[in-house]
């Protein structure tokens, strides 16, 4: 878990409205290369909205977001280029149901990264090995269990060789017995030095691999610190209340 001093994501006063409703009320934080940041907070606090602003699936209206040296604005020329450096794993997996597992993984490397077919397939098989399901390569997503699908989704994001990985509640849609296999894949990834931002309710995961925990409520970061600080000595009343409910 080598965290460098290089800032890879810088957010300053990020604000976001849906119509009249303000989902983000000024979020300021910095993520360093190789850092693993876990975001926790009650439902509707703006966790998803925040990480979706980082790869511009949502557009913030005020404040500054700089990803890997490029500021996210309306006229980002190569939004695709930045997105291909930022992998994302969704709560609902969002695999492409009409493509086999291997095709799901190789599609973007082939057409966005312009890899050759053999190259992309070789690398896709390596990734499937890494997440533990090489035997599923020729199946369709609909034929896999939820845990397997989510691991394919992780492999698919990794196939682009991103510098940052975003996870939005990757285990919330899974049955309890499948959560572990996905968390294991994520832990392995964290240990390999990937920069990760993870929205999750899995406190064990946060305690084990997070370098830093952010607590979100009502569209702002209420409290942030190391996992020890967080779970042994939380400062804010709202943090205490939330942790007492969830632990």
């Amino acid at each position: 878990m080598a965290v460098s001093d290089k800032d890879i994501i810088v957010c300053e006063g990020v604000k976001k409205w849906f119509g009249d409703f303000q989902a983000l009320k000024g979020v300021t934080t910095t993520v360093k290369e190789g850092e693993v940041v876990v975001i926790i907070g009650p439902s509707g606090s703006g966790k998803s909205t925040f990480i979706r602003c980082i790869n511009r699936l949502e557009q913030h209206q005020e404040g500054v977001i700089v990803v890997d040296g490029v500021e996210m604005t309306n006229d980002v020329r190569n939004i695709e280029k930045i997105r291909s450096e930022v992998g994302m794993v969704f709560q609902q997996f969002n695999l492409f149901p009409h493509l086999t597992v291997l095709d799901n993984i190789t599609l973007a490397p082939l057409w966005v990264r312009k890899r050759t077919k053999t190259d992309a397939q070789e690398r896709g098989m390596q990734l499937l090995n890494r997440v533990g399901i090489p035997e599923q390569a020729e199946k369709y997503p609909g034929q896999l269990s939820g845990g397997q699908q989510q691991r394919v989704a992780i492999a698919r994001a990794l196939a682009m060789e991103p510098r940052i990985m975003l996870f939005d509640e990757p285990t919330s849609a899974l049955d309890p017995e499948m959560i572990k296999e996905v968390l294991d894949a994520m832990k392995e990834l964290a240990r390999s030095g990937m920069t990760m931002i993870v929205v999750t309710h899995e406190m064990g995961f946060a305690r084990e691999v997070a370098d830093r925990v952010l607590f979100f409520d009502y569209g702002t970061i209420v409290e942030e610190g190391t996992p020890e600080h967080f779970f042994t000595n939380p400062q804010h009343d709202r943090t205490k209340l939330f942790l007492s409910q969830i632990l």
Partner: protein
């Protein structure tokens, strides 16, 4: 629980399991006569059905039926006035299509395996139905005191079929799928082919009256040869290239090429104007091919995204300007193509190999398009009274296929436009769809023939068939667009987000993720559209084209030479209905198969 109950219980458990009650009586009791209402309904509808078949068979075998009007005009119905001595061109075209179709079946591994039981059931049903119809026919014939040989023959054949089917259903292993379905199809098709050599058909006699005569050799021999070609080419394809994915791309390309080659070269037999080619088309085509290839190679560089867009826009402006001056049509077509190629260059950009391939695709496309334009410009050596070399079923099919092939991309574009986030595209697509759908096809056909000449730039003349194709295609595209839009809207937001998060551009997302899923979701609707379009082609009769239905409806009943068929309308119409039904029914069956096959990939 006492001891004896326990003993009795054990004995019962040792009895072998009884089969559930079954058989025709049980079936009839549960399905037809389960209640008083049900019984009354069964009797009433049974009676109506019986009456219908009684009258229908009576009509078909009636003594004064003029089926000779159909058999004598079979050529006309199929290919209209295509010169008889050139028939080999038609047979050659059919052979090409069959070989391609068989190769396609083999490469896609289309066949499944059927159980003896399933085949036996079909045989039994078919045999029973044939016996039923033959029985009615025999009764009719006996009542009219005519010879009942054919009716009795049918009865015997039907009973034999049903018996064979019954036998096939016996035995434990009869439910194991083991018979290749394509073999069943082949055997089923062999029946009508063989029948052509056996049966006798009503044939008119010069000077009045009709007689039963064998089918003409010029019909049954080529048909038999085609059948054998189909069987052999399937077997060969299955052994050599069967189920290899690398042959799929080339096969699709061959299909796309086969249509213009068959219609424009084989059937139309163009007289190429060589002086015009060397003076105009060759230099223009070569210039576009070579200069364009360099340009395409240049813009297919991933680091020059703006270059492709800029060059594309520039070529498009040139295309628009070209309408202001007088140039040959081919220049405008190639300019438009160049604009599209340059605009889509960023999507296909890549390493040196990808760039060279892109330039190569451009080069080949220019050559093909130029060649095609030459073919269109050339006169045809085939002369026929109606002025067109296409007619009958040989007009209906090309109309439907070309109409569909053109309306498909247009419909996709319209659907994408209508769901686009850009208001201008949305507005234009919606306007097009609503205007086109709001007016009947007949009106558009008339517009294409009566009004279009006024709107076209001077010097652009379009042949009748081509006009009809465009009218049908533009009309059908509006409906297609609405179907595809339904499919696009059924795709979840998550799919778009996943594609974007991987860094795909809008074009890539559409081509690889959303469009394939949308099309899959609407296959049943698309097939319905194809069938509707196929039948709607019969409307071209309004603008003077001699399609299949027009010949059956208007040409045959007005014939007085060499045979007198004046006023014979019912027989050709019934025959036309049967042909339309067989074709559309096969299409809907094939699409069911396709759906089931593609269903594998669904969630």
């Amino acid at each position: 629980m006492s001891d004896d109950t326990f003993v009795v219980h054990t004995e019962e458990a040792e009895l072998p399991p009884e089969p559930p009650p079954h058989g025709p009586m049980v079936w009839a009791r549960t399905n037809l006569f389960s209640s008083v209402t049900n019984t009354i309904l069964s009797v009433v509808f049974g009676g109506i059905t019986l009456l219908f078949f009684w009258n229908m068979v009576g009509f078909i075998i009636g003594e004064d039926r003029r089926w000779d009007a159909v058999t004598a005009n079979m050529r006309l119905l199929m290919v209209q006035a295509y010169p008889q001595e050139q028939s080999v061109r038609i047979w050659l075209s059919l052979a090409i299509i069959l070989v391609l179709a068989m190769a396609t079946l083999a490469v896609w591994g289309a066949g499944t395996r059927l159980s003896r039981y399933a085949v036996g059931t079909t045989l039994m049903t078919a045999g029973a139905f044939l016996s039923f119809l033959s029985l009615i026919a025999t009764l009719h014939l006996v009542l009219d005191s005519r010879t009942a040989v054919w009716g009795l023959g049918g009865l015997v054949v039907g009973l034999v079929l049903a018996g064979v089917g019954y036998q096939m259903r016996q035995g434990e292993e009869s439910k194991v799928p083991q018979i290749p379905s394509l073999m069943v199809t082949a055997v089923a098709l062999a029946v009508p082919i063989a029948a052509f050599w056996v049966i006798q058909v009503p044939t008119p006699i010069l000077g009045g009256g009709q007689e039963l005569a064998p089918v003409a050799l010029s019909t049954k021999l080529p048909l038999t040869i085609l059948y054998l070609i189909a069987v052999v080419s399937y077997l060969v394809a299955d052994r050599t290239i069967g189920e290899q994915e690398r042959f799929r791309g080339p096969l699709v390309a061959l299909w796309v090429l086969s249509f213009p080659v068959i219609v424009m070269v084989i059937l139309r037999d163009p007289i190429i104007p060589y002086d015009l080619v060397t003076s105009t088309y060759l230099p223009i085509g070569a210039a576009f091919a070579i200069v364009g290839a360099v340009v395409m190679w240049f813009v297919a560089d991933p680091t020059k995204k703006e270059a492709g867009l800029g060059v594309g826009a520039l070529i498009f402006v040139l295309f628009l300007l070209s309408w202001a001056i007088s140039v040959v049509m081919v220049v405008r077509i190639l300019l438009l193509m160049g604009a599209l190629f340059a605009l889509s260059a960023p999507t296909f950009a890549g390493e040196q190999r990808a760039r060279l391939r892109y330039a190569g695709v451009w080069f080949v496309s220019v050559v093909l398009v130029t060649y095609f334009v030459v073919l269109v410009v050339a006169e045809s050596s085939i002369r026929s009274e109606s002025g067109s070399f296409l007619g009958g079923l040989m007009l209906t099919f090309p109309l439907a296929i070309a109409g569909m092939a053109l309306s498909f991309p247009l419909g996709v574009l319209l659907a994408l436009g209508r769901t686009s986030t850009m208001p201008i595209f949305r507005l234009l697509s919606t306007a097009y769809i609503e205007v086109v759908r709001g007016v009947p096809l007949i009106t558009w056909l008339l517009v294409a023939f009566v009004l279009l000449p006024f709107f076209l730039p001077p010097g652009v003349g379009i042949q009748g068939v081509v006009r009809a194709i465009f009218a049908v295609a533009f009309f059908s595209a509006a409906y297609l667009a609405e179907n595809i839009r339904g499919g696009l809207q059924s795709i979840g937001k998550g799919q778009y987000e996943a594609a974007k998060a991987l860094g795909m551009t809008t074009v890539q997302m559409t081509v690889f993720i959303t469009l394939p899923q949308a099309l899959r979701a609407v296959i049943p609707a698309l097939v319905g559209q194809v069938i509707a379009l196929f039948k709607d082609t019969s409307l071209v009769t309004i603008v003077g084209l001699f399609d299949f239905l027009h010949i059956a409806r208007a040409v045959i009943p007005n014939q007085s030479q060499p045979f007198n068929f004046i006023g014979v309308l019912r027989e050709p119409l019934l025959f036309a209905a049967l042909v339309y039904w067989i074709i559309t029914f096969s299409m809907s069956r094939a699409s069911l198969r396709l759906e089931r096959k593609l269903g594998l990939g669904e969630r």
